[in-house]
Amino acid sequence: MLRGIAGAAGLAVVSGGLLTACDSSSSTSSSGGGGKKGGPITFGSNYSDPAAKTAFAALCTAATKSTKSKIKINTVDHNSFQENITSYLQGTPDDLFAWFAGYRMQYFAAQGLAQPLDDVWDKIGSNFGPAAKKLSTGLDGHQYLVPLYNYPWVVHYNKSHFAAKGYKVPTTWDEYIALAKKMKGDGIVPIAFADKDGWPALGTFDILNMRINGFDYHTKLMKHEIPWTDKGVTTVFEHWAELMPYMQPGANGRIWQDAAKTLEAKKAGMMFQGTNQVAAQYVTDKANLDDLDFFTFPAINPAYGQDYMDAPTDGFMLSKKAKNSTAAKDVLEYIGSGAAEATYLKTDQWDVGLATGLKVPTYNAIQKKSVAEIAKCKAVGQFMDRDADPAMATAMISVIQKFIGDPSTGNIAKLQKSAESQAKAIYS
């Protein structure tokens, strides 16, 4: 008995022994390449959803064809992958691993868990614009990531639904609220909303903050150069509180997949989330993807209009302990080309590539529009859990869930205080 409890407490120390390989599966990409430069490359992948897994396998096959290196894919369920990343990178990591751009990449690069990819970027740099390069650059000025795709966080809706009811796409906050009111009057949920997993609602905070206070303010807040008790943050929560009556109630107990289903069933009029989730869910549920459309979040502060949004970027990094760096870098070089992105996006019907001037014949309407809208932005955020210290994002998850539970003015002040005192502990 004693053993069990002390053991539970003692588990703490055995980090690295907690690597779960649950749900992990290996597959070697099919076309033989004779494995030059010391055997096959291992590739840690979190592309665990069926559709993404297929797309990723196609990408690896194409990479093998191009570089003549065999690639062994180790797929791990993405939640486990993210949870175990620290132990994984210090244990026996794969040569290459899938990860996210922004601070979330810089955090691991700064701790010496990844190798700089400057030589790769020397070759692929011409394929990308300055924004993509900035997203791949660590705090020390070296590149650590090769991006694959990004996707916008926007307001999704069904075209036929809007046409049937005579709804107009709103461009300003007032129009947005008016439309939501009208939908509520028509007896549907204006804005499908779910936050059981904790992270989806962070996107709503991000967009409101960027619309109200602008991009620079948002980045400073994420780096804790502006305190969470700031007036600007209060304004964000006040706007959100105004929107709250029109958002699907009981969000803290609902997963986003179920919220997307209410949009599919036209029980909800709109849903603000990434195309990577909503459009992918339409494909998974075999819902009518052609009917799905989106608009960028309406303008609030005229000074910033619709200049910014979250468009998270996913890519790949080379682990410090890679056994086969040379061959792995060749693979990254291939992945950093427009051709590779196009190969991946044949299967993936909701993300868009980052290579400049990329022509993907298989793009559907959603993807084409995503490209256009991201291009219009003056700057894109990555998402709170990628822009801020991971511990702060975790703290904000519970703060925002508490806000969803009680969006009253008194509670906002309390939550801001709590966020700030946690930020002080985390960022020092």
Binding site: M1, L2, R3, G4, I5, A6, G7, A8, A9, G10, L11, A12, V13, V14, S15, L18, Q82, E83, N84, I85, T86, Q90, R104, Y107, A110, Q111, G112, L139, I188, V189, K196, G198, P249, G250, A251, N252, G253, R254, D258, T262, A268, D389, P390, A391, A393, T394, I397, S398, V399, Q401, K402, G405, S418, S421, Q422, K424, A425, I426, Y427, S428
Partner: protein
């Protein structure tokens, strides 16, 4: 972790079997073979115990005074205030972790409180329920075998599975409960697992569903061990069923009661699986065990901080353990 249902655990059987004519230097009089046997039988478990329980536990205590994100090495230099967290890694932080947990970590006090609620529900609801089931089945009502199986079924499921099963019951728009009571619409749905005011109780229903079956089985074993002549004697003395149970049977079952008490305390302190499956232990379902895990495992590794929470849990756990051991040893001596 299994709890032994032995009525009194002699601490070391090997010693208890020592010759009856004990002298002060009785151990010396064992032959060499005996000594080797004793050394092996005691030594190996002791080594395993030290290596896998005490070293990690003490390591956790040590770690709780550091600020560390699980990467790189620890150093004995003191943390500098106002440096970015990446540069302030592996340094000595004194009791800062404990101070932060108690002062500005919003999940901490709710977690302690929820652990206590959990304990309260187990003690005052789950255990009496289990007792009741056991007594009813023990009286040999019709179909007692079937009831026994039904009540014991949840105990055989892993708690993670129990959590998943109850998701089907509690789901807002598609769940059985809301559908039956007609509250599964888009506006009137009861958010059983998402509303921080009720989700703890919803999960406690799940936990009780399983725990009471567990207690029932332990009690049944205890009741079977009660000497039937006692009951006959009580019957002859004209005691009714109520009196027989409380005045005769219950006192005889003292050893089992202690075991059940310990099991209950421990089960409520290590409650983890259900809330983790439900929502990773956030938003009204904070528990100490989950806080330890979510700070140590996961992308956000605050190993020092998580260890501090682990130490708090350890200290809380030591209270019932100490009481239990004290009781056990005292009984051993009084014999």
């Amino acid at each position: 972790m299994s709890s032994s249902t032995r009525t009194h655990a002699p601490v070391a059987p090997a010693v208890a079997e020592a010759p009856a004519r004990r002298r002060r230097r009785g151990v010396r009089r064992m032959s060499r073979r005996d000594r080797i046997a004793v050394a092996l039988l005691l030594g190996i478990p002791l080594l395993i115990d030290i290596a896998f329980v005490w070293v990690p536990a003490l390591g956790t205590v040590a770690l709780s005074f550091f600020k560390w994100n699980g990467v790189g090495s620890l150093s004995t230099k003191t943390c500098q205030p106002n440096l970015p967290s990446i540069l302030n890694n592996g340094c000595m932080d004194g009791v800062q972790n404990f101070h932060q947990a108690a002062s500005n970590y919003p999940a901490f006090w709710p977690a302690v409180w929820h652990n206590l609620i959990w304990l309260g529900v187990f003690v005052f609801i789950a255990t009496p329920l289990g007792m009741l089931f056991a007594v009813l089945i023990d009286r040999g009502i019709k179909g007692s075998r079937m009831y026994q199986s039904i009540l014991f079924l949840p105990v055989m499921l892993s708690l993670a599975l129990v959590g998943i099963i109850w998701e089907f019951m509690y789901s807002q728009n598609l769940g059985l409960i809301n559908t039956v009571i007609g509250r599964n619409g888009s506006t009137n749905a009861i958010d059983w697992l998402g509303d921080p005011h009720i989700n703890l109780w919803a999960v406690l229903v799940e936990a009780t569903w399983r725990q009471s079956g567990y207690v029932m089985v332990l009690y049944l074993a205890g009741l079977k061990a009660v000497d039937p002549t006692l009951r006959e004697a009580a019957l002859v003395d004209g005691a009714n069923a109520w009196q027989t149970f409380w005045r005769v049977v219950f006192p005889v079952m003292r050893p089992i009661n202690i075991v059940i008490m310990v099991v209950t305390v421990i089960e409520s302190l290590r409650a983890f699986d259900l809330v983790y499956i439900t929502n990773k232990g956030i938003n009204g379902l904070e528990l100490l065990s989950v806080l330890v895990t979510s700070n140590i495992v996961g992308e956000t590794q605050r190993v020092g901080f998580g260890s501090a929470l682990g130490v708090v849990l350890l200290v809380i756990s030591l209270v019932p353990i100490t009481i239990f051991l004290y009781q056990t040893f005292r009984r051993e001596e009084s014999r």
